[in-house]
Symmetry: C6
Subunit: 75 residues, 6 copies
């Protein structure tokens, strides 16, 4: 796999949030490497409130890490 995570440092909070979303999706790729399979699952969970909330939880956890890595963009 190519270099998809060169750094946790981002210029802005919003770029940090985008990276948190990316990290969340990468974990799914590690467990289900087949892109067609992942695509087939998408309509199901994108229309399921429980799955959307659970995905939101993963993003929140990753965002906590990235925000700390960027010292909350306070510097």
């Amino acid at each position: 796999m190519d270099d998809w995570l060169p750094s946790l440092v981002t210029p802005t909070p919003q770029a940090g949030y985008d990276l948190a979303v990316k990290l969340s999706r990468m974990a799914v790729k590690f467990t289900q490497p087949d892109p067609a399979m992942r695509e087939a699952l998408r309509p199901g969970y994108a229309g399921d409130a429980d799955a959307l909330i659970a995905a939101s939880q993963v993003v929140a956890t990753n965002f906590a890490t990235i925000a700390a890595a960027n010292r909350y963009w306070r510097d």
Copy 2:
């Protein structure tokens, strides 16, 4: 998408809590970008205790990040 997250710093704890709610909702938008679809899901989970608690968990996780970013509004 426009600049929806310029900073994690807020003037008060309550404004920080509001931002935590916003962050939680944005993650859902990333997974389900269709506003009509999200709106259609809302009555279901707003009337489901498990989903309400799960959403509350996401807010709690995001609030932890924002509170740390604001040094708990102690300064």
Copy 3:
């Protein structure tokens, strides 16, 4: 909404725990603003062990934030 969260600082750990419970309930209010609807859901989840444990998890997450904000009441 009125000023319900003026500070994360509390005089004692127990008052901090009470605030964690309050924070957990506020997130539910943001998702389901109708008090009658929330009241209608209460008997269901108060009698459901899974929901009680999930609610306990939210309180634990919020208590972690408040305890850190109070430097664990060690000062």
Copy 4:
């Protein structure tokens, strides 16, 4: 309610773990204050692996807080 949480500081890690279990149970009491109701639920979740694991997650979260409050008992 009487003073059930005077301090997060404990003499040993094991006493800290016991306190984490106590904190986890208190959150359940806040949501379901009726002792008879809680007792009625116990056989169900004590025999349900998913509920046991979920309860274990709450204890882990509370133990993280208490361990930090005690500076991991390294002093």
Copy 5:
């Protein structure tokens, strides 16, 4: 109960991971003290992917605490 948690400090990361697994299991013991009952539940959850992933989440949470207690074994 005997002294099962004398310290959070371990000589190596792997010993810390073993301790995280132990902490995760102890929480289950607190909720379900009967060894025969716990043993009876094991085949069910050991063959259930959702339960295995949930157990893995508990270990991850406890490992975070132990790793911090050991300053990540960097000293």
Copy 6:
């Protein structure tokens, strides 16, 4: 079991992420030590969105630990 976790320090964020995935899988091995049994479960959860998201949550939690251990690769 051989020495599978000599250090939490990794040269890059991506190597840290790989280690987070490894930690997540090791917890499953501790609960279900039989490789054939784990392999039999894989098709089920790899095709189940809820399980994929839950697995992603475990990786996010472990990545938080590893990122902190590496001081976010900022040094």
